[in-house]
């Protein structure tokens, strides 16, 4: 008795269902997500339940939990704030200057930064928050 070989000739796996799913996930992230407005490790914002104001423009100054300041991707000392924010004119009056402060950062240091910005004629300062609850 002769047995037929069971294995059919080896074919390439059909990738079409995989591509379908990957496209679906891609479109989900495109539609549902927004790009993170800042990139900084371990930064946790203040969670505020109330809706204070509509969304914001771009982040400018980051203050992490230890109080280190990051402006345009570079770490700066508090004394260098004036040099870093060399052109306060670019922060036009209709858009607030966004301070991305960690909720564990020192309040006094934050107030000092806000005062320093005020001295540079940047009066409209906003602290970035995230909305909590009510998801």
């Amino acid at each position: 008795m002769r047995l037929q070989p069971q294995r059919s000739s080896r074919k390439e796996a059909d990738l079409t269902p995989l591509i379908n799913i990957v496209f679906l996930i891609l479109i989900f992230f495109l539609v549902a997500g927004t790009l993170r407005p800042f990139s900084h490790p371990d930064l946790e914002l203040v969670t505020l339940d109330e809706e204070t104001s509509p969304s914001l423009a771009r982040g400018h100054l980051i203050m992490d939990a230890e109080g280190a300041l990051v402006f345009d991707g570079t770490i700066i000392a508090f004394e260098d704030l004036e040099t870093a924010v060399a052109d306060p004119e670019q922060f036009s009056s209709d858009q607030p200057f966004i301070l991305i402060a960690d909720h564990r950062a020192d309040a006094i240091e934050t107030l000092k930064v806000i005062e320093a910005l005020r001295a540079l004629d940047v009066t409209d300062v906003s602290i970035m928050t995230q909305r909590g609850g009510g998801r």
Binding site: L15, T16, L18, I19, V22, F23, I25, L26, F29, L30, A32, G33, T34, L35, R36, P37, L45, V46, L48, E50, E51, T52, S53, P54, S55, L56, M63, P96, I98, L99, A101, D102, H103, R104, A105, D106, A107, I108, T110, L111, K112, I114, E115, L117, R118, V122, T123, D124, V125, S126, I127, M128, T129, Q130, R131
Partner: protein, 128 residues
């Protein structure tokens, strides 16, 4: 003269480069997108200067470490703070001075300021 058909047999287009690119896009969006809803809290910086007010009108709110609150020197529990502010407003208080003590956090500043603001006082000052 007889010409032979030189075209190769039609093959299925390779999808591999497409999948590569789609995977790259997918990984990019997975890493860089967020589902947090951001907002901003305005802290207009008032200039340093002198303000003339009747001392009796001023309500002093001290924010101590761990968010402990004192209104005119008397300790107030966070859950009673809102009622206390409503009472002050009803009594005609219009000027609030928020004193941030050493060791307070940004969270204390923002949440306290938001609570005070919700009562629509005429003047709110933050000092350190």
């Amino acid at each position: 003269m007889q010409l032979s058909d030189t075209r190769p047999p039609r093959r299925i287009m390779s999808l591999t480069p497409l999948i590569d690119v789609v995977f790259l896009l997918l990984v990019f969006f997975m890493l860089s997108s967020t589902f947090l809803r951001f907002s901003s809290f305005s802290v207009e910086a008032g200039g340093a200067g002198t303000v003339s007010v009747e001392p009796s009108d001023v309500v002093l709110i001290h924010v101590d470490q761990e968010g402990a609150l004192r209104v005119n020197g008397a300790s107030v529990l966070p859950e009673e703070f809102n009622e206390r502010l409503a009472a002050i407003k009803a009594e005609g208080g219009e000027t609030i001075v928020l004193v941030m003590r050493t060791g307070t956090k940004v969270e204390d500043l923002v949440t306290t300021l938001a609570t005070v603001r919700s009562h629509a006082f005429k003047t709110i000052r933050v000092v350190r």
